[in-house]
Subunit: 228 residues, 2 copies
């Protein structure tokens, strides 16, 4: 905790008044469950709050930055910016992954690098910061950490691969694209899916991922690489 | 607009600096579409922003009020509090329905009392208030308008009727409950659905509503009334 406090102060000028909030934000359910008798709080409730403050600040940012985008376009862009994979990256950029407390099983199975855990951690931290300070403090932190990346426009370029593949294939006329799970393995907390994508029944590629959705995206990405 | 400004000042102590924001919040797309050449802004972008600030403030309220609720329970409660029907009610409570600018067609077909329009209007107003003032001003307004109703606990008691019906019927053992649309009428913008609910093939009741979901709830509600 002291190393974390030091990092927050040095890198972001953040000093928590209520250290128990910070402690809770960096405690994963798996750790709290292993120490049930101590009644330690975990970060799921803070994540709920952090998700909401993040949604608001990104919405406001998009509203002001893009005066002509429709609410539908803003909504799409927002969901790309705040998606788990993206938030997990910010958690790592901030070095948060070093400080999260995990249960032993979770630690062994690679929880420290798992995107869900790191994405949730980022949101929980924002929730703790909101409660300890205010919305402006969260804004200042996001201005340091997230907004510079958003400003590069990298999120706008990221179109999801399934859409890209569909658009590419349809230029040659009607085509039926089907994604099928062809393999599924590993224990519940570390499932791995394999998905095959076909166009008019012809196999294009296969992709792997932690969820069906991610495996589909991976398969579409590979198909795009092969086709272009 | 002057009557609206008067109402806002007298009832809530709110004076807008940027009147164009207020104007936009109270302009429905149907009105903007009818006056396309004037390039009038409508309230959909503000609604996007207002929805986000509402979610945050209700999340924070729930977090602080219920220290032991899980994020799942908070999330359910939040969605009941911020649902369209509820927001439309607040719009009416504030007298906002008198001031929204609608297109002629929308006005004729009863748009001024439509829940989607009034719910969106409430959110758009919150978005305008956020931009004209800050999060605290929105909080103060919600403390006057929404929170007293939330405090009555009425949202917690509202369990959805389909769940209640299922719980009631299952006390007597396994039962198969089916909802079927038996009638659907009216033009696209004013559809009316009729749904019949059956338990193990035996008809219990019928309900009407503007959407399938609402008709299902109405049918379940009626069945509950008959059974209890």
């Amino acid at each position: 905790m002291e190393a974390l406090q030091h990092t927050l102060k040095e890198s972001f000028g953040i000093v928590f008044d209520d250290l128990s909030l910070l402690e809770t934000a960096f405690t994963h359910t798996s750790y709290a469950n292993e120490h049930r008798l101590l009644k330690i709080s975990h970060n799921e409730r803070l994540e709920f709050l952090g998700d909401a403050v993040l949604q608001l600040l990104i919405s406001q940012y998009l509203y002001l930055k893009y005066p002509t985008k429709t609410e539908g376009d803003m909504s799409k862009l927002r969901s790309m910016i705040v998606r788990e994979e993206s938030l997990a990256g910010f958690s790592k950029d901030c070095g948060f992954d070093q400080y999260i407390k995990l249960g032993k099983g979770e630690e062994k199975s690679g929880g420290r690098t798992r995107e869900t855990i790191l994405g949730d951690l980022f949101e929980a931290f924002l929730g703790a910061l909101l409660l300890d300070k205010d919305v402006d403090a969260v804004q200042t932190f996001l201005d340091q950490v997230m907004i510079p990346k958003v400003e590069t426009g990298s999120y706008e370029q990221v179109k999801d691969y399934k859409t890209q593949l569909q658009e590419l294939l349809q230029t040659k006329g009607e085509v039926t694209i089907v994604y099928t799970v062809v393999n599924e393995e590993g224990p519940a907390h570390a499932k791995q899916f394999e998905v095959e994508v076909t166009a008019d029944g012809q196999s294009l590629s296969k992709g792997q991922g932690r969820s069906k959705k991610m495996a589909e995206q991976a398969a579409a990405k590979k198909a795009l690489e092969q086709l272009t």
